[in-house]
């Protein structure tokens, strides 16, 4: 296509495809995502309660809990199980922090053959990198707003 504008033929073809295209089983997928995601979080709650029973506050226990869940996600990815869970659970295994670990281990492992620096080291952040970038930038902007609000309130 020389231009980005769609021709009439292309427009018609888009409709033809839309009509025939199989739709994802949204209801089933959503239920599975709910169940698996819920189970992972319930497991996380168990870990959290365990750390709290050691005398940590809820806030103190959050970091260790995240670490244990990250370990589980990384380990299951190494065993080759996490992608099978993902096929069924979809977002249910992507959104929890175990999925974040999966997104780091799977490319790192996959690109080991391209070397430990250019493969493992660089590729580990293929998905995790963008997550860190946007969470950091968003939070800093929110932090600036919060700081300015406090300054303004102090002047009043």
């Amino acid at each position: 296509m020389a231009t980005k504008e769609k021709t009439i033929d292309q427009e018609q073809y888009k409709w033809r495809v839309q009509r025939k295209k199989p739709k994802p089983a949204v209801l089933r997928n959503t239920i599975m995502a709910f169940l698996v995601g819920g189970l992972i979080c319930t497991l996380g709650q168990g870990v959290l309660v365990f750390f709290q029973s050691l005398g940590m506050s809820m806030k103190e226990a959050a970091g260790p809990t995240a670490s244990v869940m990250v370990f589980l996600g990384a380990f299951l990815t190494g065993l080759g199980v996490y992608d099978d869970i993902g096929k069924v659970a979809g977002a249910g295994s992507v959104v929890p922090i175990t999925g974040f670990a999966n997104s780091m281990v799977s490319p790192a492992m996959e690109f080991k053959r391209e070397g430990f620096v250019t493969g493992v080291g660089a590729r580990m952040f293929q998905v995790a990198g963008p997550v860190l970038v946007y969470s950091t930038v968003t939070s800093i902007v929110i932090g600036i707003v919060y700081w300015l609000t406090r300054l303004w309130e102090a002047r009043l």
Binding site: P24, V26, N29, T30, M32, A33, L35, G37, G38, L39, C41, T42, G44, Q45, V47, L48, K59, G63, T65, A66, S67, V70, F71, A74, G78, L79, G80, A89, A91, G92, V94, V95, P96, I97, T98, G99, F100, A101, M104, V105, S106, A108, M109, E110, K112, V120, M124, V127, P130, V131, Y134, S135, T138, S139, I140, I142, G143, Y146, W147, R150
Partner: protein, 116 residues
Amino acid sequence: MQYLMAFLVGGAICAVGQLLMDLTSLTSAHILVLFVSVGAVLSGLGIYEQLVELGGAGATIPLTGFGHAIVSGVFEEIEAKGAVGILSGVFKNTSMGLAAAVFFGFVMSILFNPKG
């Protein structure tokens, strides 16, 4: 009860992710970025803290909780140190999870090979 709430809140957050995946053309990478940012914004508005009180791990384990952890760290540091806290707070509450992710990620990718 807290387990049930963790299940319900966590499951609901994942279900929203699934709906976005199925009904839009967002990939899982887009979903993660979107969720972590939305979590940060909801945290800034003071909403996410209530969700954590309600759902416990159901709100902290999904990646939205990661955004919340960053923003809460930034706020705490701003309270304590002023403007410096905007930067120094970013990894305050998240350092452990991140360090674990990098370390375990590295170890697992050394120990295992992809099955394909």
